[in-house]
């Protein structure tokens, strides 16, 4: 089967003034549909950068990214945005919920941006699976970190993305909440065949995945 994600010699160099920081130095990666991949590595090795490129939030300096057969390097900014809208879900360490909206409105907003309208079935299924059904009418500041992150996951998967990209989703959570969130990620992966890439610093968290990729200095050193 064709891999869902393919990168070839992917490079990213950040330029701030005259200083160049090579964040990725040739990443070759293949991820199959339905895989749960953990990415680990020391701080600054380029994990987040890789995730941003895979989600089309930034464009590579050189190299190729194919996601579901779409070559990002040949797509415009607007096309990548459209692709992200329909195929990619993001989860961040800092939850990144809109503070002025309730949990429910945060999730509905994602559906609205996607433009397919409100799907009550999917909504209920996701809310129940993530066990947030009774927290939906609260604003983020009235939710615990674990609850906020579950709402953020719900928002990320509500539109059935092909790929869920999570950047240290348990980084701000205590052990108990981390385990709940990880369990839910695994459930999503197992029962819905959700393809999942998750950055983590936590080896226990990484153990939840099918596959662990280790990075260092902008390269994959172990797969």
């Amino acid at each position: 089967m064709e891999p869902l994600i393919v990168t070839e010699n992917l490079k990213k160099v950040y330029r701030t003034g005259k200083v160049e920081t090579p964040a990725l130095r040739g990443v070759n990666l293949q991820v199959q549909q339905g895989e749960f991949v953990a990415i680990v590595g020391p701080s600054g090795c380029g994990k987040s950068t890789l995730l941003h490129l895979l989600g089309g939030l930034a464009s590579p300096t050189s190299g190729k990214i194919l996601v579901d057969g779409n070559d990002f390097s040949r797509m415009s900014d607007a096309e990548r945005t459209r692709f992200r809208r329909h195929k990619i879900g993001f989860v961040f360490q800092r939850y990144n919920l809109l503070p002025t909206l309730t949990a429910r409105q945060n999730i509905v907003l994602a559906q609205h941006i996607q433009g397919n309208g409100f799907n009550p079935h999917r909504f209920q299924m996701v809310a129940e699976m993530l066990r947030i059904a009774d927290r939906l009418d609260f604003r983020p500041n009235a939710l615990s970190g674990g609850e906020q992150q579950r709402v953020a996951i719900a928002r990320a998967v509500i539109c059935e993305p092909n790929i869920l990209l999570a950047d240290e989703p348990t980084g701000n959570l205590d052990t108990e909440n981390s385990q709940t969130v990880l369990a839910m990620m695994r459930t999503l992966n197992r029962s819905l065949q959700q393809t999942l890439l998750m950055i983590t610093h936590n080896l226990e968290a990484a153990a939840a995945a099918d596959r662990i990729i280790r990075m260092r200095d902008g390269q994959i050193i172990e797969d």
């Binding site: 941003h52 989600g55 939030l57 930034a58 607007a78 945005t81 459209r82 992200r84 809208r85 329909h86 990619i88 993001f90 961040f92 990144n96 919920l97 809109l98 503070p99 002025t100 909206l101 409105q105 509905v108 907003l109 994602a110 559906q111 609205h112 941006i113 996607q114 928002r155």
Partner: protein, 366 residues
């Protein structure tokens, strides 16, 4: 959904919202009041001139018809020439004076006999006609606004006048003194600023008009009907300049406040914009959301501005009965349109900036 997000944002920063709404409200109120008061004043003045009852007005060369401001008055002897023309029944010479202390007041220096013949005579609410040098007639509006009674002294143009009567308003000015007094005060002996000409029948107006123009080619000769339509149209350059300037200032205020408001908003919400983009929101979506937010504040501001203007008009008319504020639907719509468009233009640059933020940078923003 955008709507709910916008309402949430607007409520999230109430002070910012109130200031923006007030700016738009002031903008709308300013436009409506400036236009309303100038047109009100104009139509009032025009109506009063119409109320004199003349068919034709004659003014010296170079005079402006607006309120009859004139540089050098013309000799009253000319009135006799006009009087001699066929179909002319009466000519009333009037010398205009302005009293500027305590509000702008137009004073007519009149010759009682001819003015009465042209106008059909004053209706007296109290007292009687001017007889002595320092007698003055005031109209009932002026009397009410300034609490003036017959027999009291009124200091105008550095002279103490004796109020000899209160008349019904609507005959040219609100204050009347003797023509000879006015001439003496201004050193314009034997002169007048306007001749009000009455024809034997209004049907002869055009004939008389032609005859006077032939007799006095360089003079400003106008039928009162023409004058009145001129006063209500946009033929008054000085005045429209003033109105346009005031409107520009008002729209500028609304524009700048909305611009600043939306600009600070997007800076404050940089991360939220990053979140929207990570969810796949297009540039158009972001621009749309921000313009809609500005539009919402503008619409509320327009509502508040219109309501406030009505309230203000009630207050103005109650406390300053001599002022008229003319509010029209057409100007209400124009003011609303200007405020809305000004706000959207003000919000456009911030919206564009927000839309072109780099999502990764925006998400990293503290």
């Amino acid at each position: 959904m955008i709507g709910r997000m916008i309402v949430a944002n607007v409520l999230h920063r109430p002070v910012r919202t109130i200031v923006s709404v007030l700016a738009v409200a002031i903008e709308v109120g300013m436009v409506l009041l400036v236009v309303g008061m100038t047109t009100g004043m104009l139509t009032e003045a025009a109506k009063r001139v119409g109320g004199v009852g003349a068919d034709i007005m004659v003014q010296p060369p170079g005079a402006s018809f607006f309120l009859g401001v004139t540089a050098a008055p013309m000799p009253v002897k000319i009135a006799d020439l006009i009087d001699g023309l066929p179909h002319v029944s009466q000519v009333a010479p009037v010398l205009l004076q302005f009293n500027t202390s305590g509000g702008l007041n137009l004073i007519y220096g009149i010759d009682m006999k001819s003015f009465n013949k042209v106008s059909g005579g004053f209706v007296y609410y109290a007292g009687g006609p001017v007889q002595h040098t320092w007698d003055i007639l005031v109209d009932n509006w002026y009397a009410r606004a300034n609490n003036v009674k017959v027999g009291q002294t009124l200091n105008l143009l550095n002279h103490n006048f004796h109020v000899c009567g209160i008349v019904q308003h609507g005959k040219g000015a609100r204050l009347f003194i003797r023509l000879s007094t006015a001439q003496e005060m201004t050193g314009a002996l034997g002169r007048a600023s306007i001749f009000f000409v009455k024809c034997t029948d209004p049907g002869y107006t055009d004939n008389v008009l032609a005859a006077i123009r032939k007799l006095l080619p360089r003079y400003q000769v106008l039928s009162v009907r023409e004058y009145m339509s001129m006063m209500t149209s946009n033929n008054l350059p000085a005045l429209t300049d003033f109105v346009t300037t005031m409107i520009a200032i008002a729209v500028g205020i609304g524009f700048l406040v909305i611009f600043l408001s939306m600009y600070t908003t997007i800076t404050e919400r940089t991360r939220e914009i990053g979140i929207l983009k990570s969810l796949g929101a297009s540039k158009f979506y972001v621009i749309h959301a921000i313009l809609e937010e500005a539009g919402l504040m503008a619409v509320v501001g327009i509502g508040v501005g219109c309501a406030g203007t009505f309230l203000l008009r009630t207050l103005i008319v109650t406390y300053f009965p001599t002022l008229t504020v003319q509010l029209t639907i057409s100007w209400g719509l124009r003011a609303a349109g200007l405020a809305l468009v000004g706000s959207l233009i003000g919000a456009f640059y911030p919206a564009l900036r927000a839309a072109s933020l780099d999502p990764v940078d925006a998400l990293a923003y503290e």
